[in-house]
Amino acid sequence: MNETELDKNQPKRSVGGELVLPALGVLFTLYYFTTIIDSPWTAQVSAFFIGAVLLSLSLVFFIKTGLAIRRGTARLSFDTLFSRLDISSGRLALLVITLSYAILIEWGGFTISTFIFLFLAMTVLNKGNSKGFIAALSAVLSLGGYLLFIFTFETHFPRGPFETFMELVLSNGS
C-alpha cells in the first residue's frame, strides 16, 4: 500500500474552522491598510510590516490547507467550531444569554442583570434542575458583588433601579 492510499484510509481532518482566524486576520489587515493609505509614514511603517507578514503566513496556510483537501487528507467542514454539542451542552444558549446580559446591564444595572444572567445561565446549563438552589446562589453572588464592588469599593459599575434604590435607602431618602 503506498503513502497516498494510506492517507486515504485515515479519517479526514476537518479544517474549515482552522481557516476562520486567518481569514478574519486577512480581512482585518486589508481593512486596516485602507485606513492608513494616506497617513504619514510613522502610522504606516509598523502596520505594513506586520500586516505583510500576516498576509503571507495566511496565504501559506490557505495553500497548505487547499493542498491537503485536494490530496484527500482533509475536508472543508466547520464541525470543530459548530456541532450539535453546542446546542445540547447549552453553549449556544449561553452565548445568547451572555449577549443579552451585556445589553441589559446598561439599563438593569449590575445587581439585577447579574442575578438574571446567573439564574438563566446556570438553569440552562444544569438542564433545568435545582432551580431553588440556583436562585439562591444567584441572589447571594449578585448581592455579594454589589456589596464588594459598589458598596465597599465604590466602583462605578453600571447602575440601575436596584443601585439607585439602595443609594436612596442608605442616604435615608434625602
Binding site: 474552522g17 482552522e18 476562520v20 482566524l21 486567518p22 478574519l24 486576520g25 482585518f28 489587515t29 481593512y31 486596516y32 485606513t35 492608513i36 497617513s39 504619514p40 509614514w41 510613522t42 502610522a43 511603517v45 509598523s46 502596520a47 506586520i50 500586516g51 507578514v53 500576516l54 503566513l57 501559506v60 496556510f61 497548505k64 470543530t80 467550531l81 451542552s89 447549552g90 453553549r91 449561553l94 452565548l95 451572555t98 449577549l99 446580559y101 451585556a102 446591564i105 446598561e106 447579574t114 444572567f117 446567573l118 445561565a121 446556570m122 446549563l125 444544569n126 446562589l137 453572588l141 458583588g145 464588594l148 464592588f149 469599593f153 465604590e154 466602583t155 462605578h156 459599575f157 453600571p158
Partner: protein, 505 residues
C-alpha cells in the same frame, strides 16, 4: 542618622509593629489582584481619600502591602481557572493551569506563593543594597535597547509556535495586528478603529485579557462537568497538607531558577514604562530557552510556573527604585504612590536617603516584611483555595463570565469594553477550538503597541535610519544575547539528540 546594621534592625522591628495594617491589606490585595479589571493602582485610587488621611508612614506601608499582595493574587485565578488577574500574570497559566487540570492545583499554588515570595524578597534585598547602581539602568535604556527587550518577550511567540509553527505565528501576528489598532504615537492618526472613538487610545488590555482567557475558557469548560481530570479529582478530594509541602519543597529546590528569573524582573522593573507583563514573558521565554527539558513547558512544568511568578514579583521592587532615586515612577502604581507621597510633602531624589532614611529604606523594608508575612498567611490557604476547582462547571462558567466581563468595564468605565471583552471571548473560543494559542495572540496585543512606540521613537530620532537599531554598545550586546537565547537552544537540542547511526547500533 547613620545607616548601619543597627539602623536596619530597628527599621525591621518598627515595620513589623505595623502588622495590623499589613495583614488585612494583604487579603485586600489578594482579592483585588485576583479579579481582572481591578489592580493595586485602581484600588489605591478608589481608596485615595483614606490613603491621604492616613499618616504618611502608614499610608506608605498600606500602598506597598497592597501592591505586593495584588501581584501575588493575580496568579491565583491564573493557576486555578486559567484567568490571569492582571496582564502581569498572563504567562502564569501556561504551566500553572495544566497542573490544576492534573489535580495539582494545591501544589501549583504553593509553588507560586513560594516563588513569588522568594523572588520578591530577594529582589527587595538586592534593591536595598544596589539601589544607586540599579537606578542608572534607566539612563542606559533608550528606544533601541527597549526594542530588543520587547523582542525578547515577543520571541515567546516562536516558542509557543514550536508545536505548530505556522498557526503559532499566525496567532502572534494577528495579536500584533490587533495591537496596532489606535492612533499612531507621532501624529495621532487613527488606524483600524472601525469608527469607534473608544479605540483611539488603542486596545484596552483588560477586555483583551478577560475575553481571550476567561470568557473563552468559560465556553470551553462546560463541555465537561469539572475542569480537572477524573484522576486529578480523586487526588484533590484527599484532604491534607502533603501537596502544599510538596509544592513548597519543589519550589525551594529550584532556588537558583527563582533567583535568576526574579533578577530579570528586577532589571525590567527598573526601566520606566516596562512592566510585569514584559518581565514575565521574557522570564518564561528565557527559562524555557535554557532548560534541560524545554519540551515539558506548557504541560504543567514547575519551572514554567516559577519563572513568570518570581519575575513579576521582582518587578515590584524594581519599579520603586527610579521613583525613590530619580522621582520617576516605574509603573502605574508607583506613579500613584508618587502623588500620595508628594501630597504629604515627601521630596524624592537622592536627598531623601539623607534627610529621611527611615522613609526611603522603609519602603523596601515594608516590602520585605509584607512578603514574609504574606507567605505565612497565604501558604496554609492554598489547600482550601485549590478546592474551587471542584466546583461543577455549570455553576463556575456563568460566574466567570459575569464577574470578568463586568471587570473589563472597570478600568475605563465604558460599556463598549464589555462588548469588546465578549468579542475577544469569541476570538479566544475560535482560537482554542481550532488549535491556535490564545497566549500568542495576547503577547501580540500587549507587546505590539509598545514595540511600535519604541521603534518609531528610534526611527524619528535617527531621521529614518534603520541602522540606528545597531548604534549602541548596550543595544548590540542585547541583540547578541537575543540571538544567543534563540539559537543556542536549537544547537543544544541538536547536540543532545542521538545520531541515527548510534541508535541503529
Amino acid at each position: 542618622m547613620e545607616v548601619d546594621l543597627a539602623f536596619f534592625a530597628e527599621l525591621l522591628a518598627h515595620t513589623l509593629s505595623f502588622w495590623w495594617v499589613i495583614i488585612p491589606t494583604i487579603f485586600l490585595g489578594l482579592i483585588v489582584g485576583a479579579i481582572p479589571g481591578f489592580s493595586a493602582a485602581n484600588t489605591i485610587i478608589i481608596l485615595l481619600p483614606l490613603t491621604l488621611a492616613m499618616e504618611v508612614e502608614i499610608g506608605l506601608i498600606f500602598m506597598i502591602a497592597l501592591y505586593c499582595a495584588s501581584r501575588m493574587g493575580a496568579g491565583i485565578p491564573a493557576i486555578l481557572v486559567n484567568i490571569p488577574g492582571t496582564a502581569g500574570a498572563a504567562a502564569t497559566p501556561l504551566d500553572g493551569y495544566p497542573m490544576t487540570k492534573q489535580g495539582r492545583g494545591q501544589q501549583a499554588l504553593a509553588m507560586s506563593f513560594v516563588a513569588s515570595t522568594l523572588g520578591g524578597l530577594l529582589t527587595t534585598i538586592i534593591a536595598l543594597a544596589a539601589m544607586p547602581m540599579l537606578a542608572e539602568v534607566g539612563y542606559y535604556m533608550h528606544a533601541v535597547e527597549m526594542i530588543v527587550v520587547m523582542l525578547f518577550g515577543i520571541s515567546l511567540i516562536a516558542t509557543i509556535a514550536a508545536k505548530d509553527t505556522l498557526k503559532g505565528l499566525i496567532a502572534g501576528f494577528l495579536g500584533l495586528m490587533i495591537g496596532s489598532i489606535g492612533s499612531d504615537v507621532v501624529y495621532a492618526t487613527p488606524r483600524g478603529t472601525m469608527g469607534f472613538l473608544e479605540l483611539y487610545d488603542g486596545i484596552p488590555l483588560i477586555p483583551a485579557l478577560v475575553g481571550l482567557f476567561a470568557v473563552s475558557e468559560a465556553f470551553i469548560i462546560i463541555e465537561k462537568s469539572s475542569i480537572i481530570t477524573e484522576e486529578g479529582r480523586a487526588t484533590m478530594q484527599k484532604p491534607g497538607w502533603g501537596a502544599t509541602l510538596e509544592g513548597t519543597f519543589l519550589a525551594l529546590s529550584k532556588w537558583w531558577h527563582i533567583t535568576w528569573t526574579s533578577l530579570i524582573g528586577l532589571i525590567i522593573g527598573v526601566i520606566p514604562g516596562a512592566g510585569a507583563s514584559i518581565a514575565s514573558f521574557v522570564a518564561y521565554q528565557q527559562s524555557r530557552a535554557f532548560s534541560k527539558t524545554p519540551e515539558l513547558y506548557g504541560t504543567g512544568h514547575p519551572e514554567g510556573l516559577i519563572a513568570p511568578e518570581s519575575a513579576n514579583n521582582g518587578v515590584t521592587s524594581g519599579t520603586l527604585i527610579p521613583l525613590l532615586i530619580l522621582g520617576i515612577p516605574g509603573g502605574a502604581t508607583a506613579a500613584i504612590m508618587l502623588v500620595v507621597l508628594q501630597y504629604h510633602g515627601v521630596d524624592f531624589g537622592p536627598s531623601l536617603f539623607f534627610q529621611q532614611p527611615e522613609l526611603a529604606y522603609g519602603v523596601f523594608m515594608a516590602m520585605a516584611v509584607t512578603y514574609a508575612l504574606m507567605i505565612l498567611t497565604i501558604l496554609p490557604l492554598s489547600r482550601y483555595m485549590s478546592r474551587v476547582t471542584l466546583v461543577r462547571t455549570v455553576y463556575m462558567a456563568p460566574v466567570i463570565i459575569a464577574f470578568t466581563l463586568v471587570g473589563s468595564f472597570v478600568p475605563r468605565e465604558y460599556l463598549f469594553d464589555l462588548y469588546l471583552g465578549l468579542a475577544f471571548g469569541v476570538i479566544g473560543y475560535i482560537a482554542r477550538k481550532t488549535g491556535y494559542h490564545v497566549a500568542a495572540i495576547l503577547i501580540g496585543v500587549i507587546l505590539g503597541p509598545l514595540l511600535e512606540t519604541y521603534f518609531l521613537r528610534a526611527l524619528k530620532k535617527s531621521e529614518g535610519d534603520l541602522m540606528t537599531l545597531f548604534s549602541s554598545n548596550l543595544g548590540n550586546i542585547l541583540w547578541a544575547l537575543l540571538a544567543a537565547s534563540i539559537l543556542l537552544p536549537i544547537f543544544i537540542d541538536r547536540f543532545r539528540k542521538p545520531k541515527p547511526t548510534d541508535a541503529a547500533l
